[in-house]
Amino acid sequence: VLDSLVDRARQGDEEAFGILVRQVGDRCLAIAYRILRDFDRAEDAVQTTLVAAWRELPNLRDAGRFEAWLHRMLVNACYAEAKRSRRRDASVQMLVADPKAGDDYHTINDRDQLERAFARISPEQRAVVVFHLYLGLTVPEVAEHHGIPLGTAKSRIHAATAALRAVLEADARVPAVRQERPA
């Protein structure tokens, strides 16, 4: 079904593209948000991607590769958005706990640690982590969806997970060090 929608949209069928947007838009937003960690910027990136996809669709040769092709554009839009936001502000973000989640202190603290860990790695590293751990893509698939060589995908995933683990381990050590200090 997706392939036939892509084919129709490629020939300029706006209605088919509208259905396509509904089908792939939510997933694009989920990816963009997890890379950018900001809802408004994620929506901007998705909007840019979908409009660019419409313009470029006639140049997509294989409808079966639509999703990977779209994800490549999305990742690039996220990088551009991240660069813009770095320029716009110093990226100081308040952590807002979700009141609906009814979290206890530990869960909030956990999320706080992960949020900080994520903020410290580069958008390129965040992107591979999202595709690998959130979407569950294999390393070759991550490489295809990012338009990068397999070796680069491997090293990025390795570096990103190592960096995240280092931050989490460092954070976990802080309370213990404080406890050992003399009063």
Binding site: R22, R27, E43, E56, P58, L164, R165
Partner: protein
């Protein structure tokens, strides 16, 4: 569980959190932009190398045929001198256009007076709205005997239908109950863009709202929802055809079902609502309303 496994589990749980739905506002923005922009069909010479031999052969044949046709045209007597004369008129199209052309819209008759009869297939001009528009009367359910138009005294609401059977109401800056299911929450004047209508419907205490459907109306992106009100919904005096009367102008009752449309006019939004009473099928009224809305042409 090892530390590394625990970290991966925490990381995956963290990534699961967060929004997973693109807002309707963004979808509409994308589709508006798409409607305005052209697709790029670029010639990419680097792809010739990877084209199949058959495709390449076809391209060459088509190019040769096109060149031959051009040569014949250039050598045909009388063709070269024809550019300075009057251009031949195109034969009239035998396919009627679904939408009303701009020229037609300017020459359409005004709506008949209060409760004036309407003819199916005829185009009328609703001239009292803040942004006048022309529309075609679609084929409506059942007999068209008694089909009439009723413009309310303020000139901003038009009712089309057969009293007691069905209606399609078209509103511009109409007074609506703040919550269609709770008359105690007062009224407000519906203005703004389709997002305002979307927010109003979704804020209702017991209305079930379908996902939005996008329509193209005179080059604009309009939106449509199907709404089912709960059994306790009641807001305003329940009267659809007698004019504004008591505030709010539009009233809703328990277990009613309607189709709502929001059509941006540039500075405002026109709201269209379908109504079916008794044995009339709302589905048929909705089909007619789709056709009416898509025939709208703004002046």
């Amino acid at each position: 569980m090892s530390i590394q496994q625990d970290q991966d589990r925490r990381l995956q749980a963290f990534l699961e959190e967060g929004p997973t739905r693109l807002s309707d506002r963004t979808v509409r923005s994308v589709l508006t932009e798409v409607h305005r922009s052209r697709q790029q069909i670029g010639f990419q010479p680097w792809r010739i190398g990877v084209m199949s031999r058959l495709s390449l052969a076809l391209v060459v044949v088509v190019a040769l045929l096109a060149a031959g046709e051009l040569g014949l045209w250039l050598t045909r007597p009388g063709e070269l001198g024809s550019t300075g004369g009057p251009s031949p008129s195109l034969p009239p199209s035998s396919v009627p256009s679904a939408a009303i052309s701009s020229a037609e819209a300017l020459a359409t008759p005004m709506l008949p007076g209060a409760d004036g009869p309407l003819s199916v297939g005829t185009t009328y001009l609703a001239g009292t709205f803040s942004r006048p528009f022309a529309f075609s009367v679609p084929h409506l359910p059942g007999s068209s005997v008694g089909l009439s138009a009723n413009v309310w005294p303020d000139g901003r609401t038009l009712t089309i239908g057969i009293p007691g059977a069905y209606a399609i109401t078209i509103h511009d800056q109409v007074s609506l109950p703040t919550d269609p299911c709770d008359s105690g929450k007062g009224t407000f004047l519906m203005q703004g863009n389709p997002d305002a209508v979307d927010a109003w419907l979704h804020a209702s205490s017991s209305a079930t709202v379908s996902p939005t459907v996008i329509l193209h109306v005179d080059g604009r992106i309009a939106v449509r929802w199907d709404v089912a009100f709960g059994s306790k919904c009641q807001a305003g005096a329940h009267s659809q055809t007698t004019g504004p009367g008591p505030v709010p102008a539009v009233a809703f009752g328990p277990s009613e079902r309607h189709r709502f449309y929001a059509i941006p006019t540039g500075s405002d939004t026109i709201v269209v609502i379908t109504w079916a009473y008794g044995t009339t099928s709302l589905a048929e009224v909705n089909v007619a309303a789709d056709s009416l809305v898509q025939s709208m042409m703004f002046r």
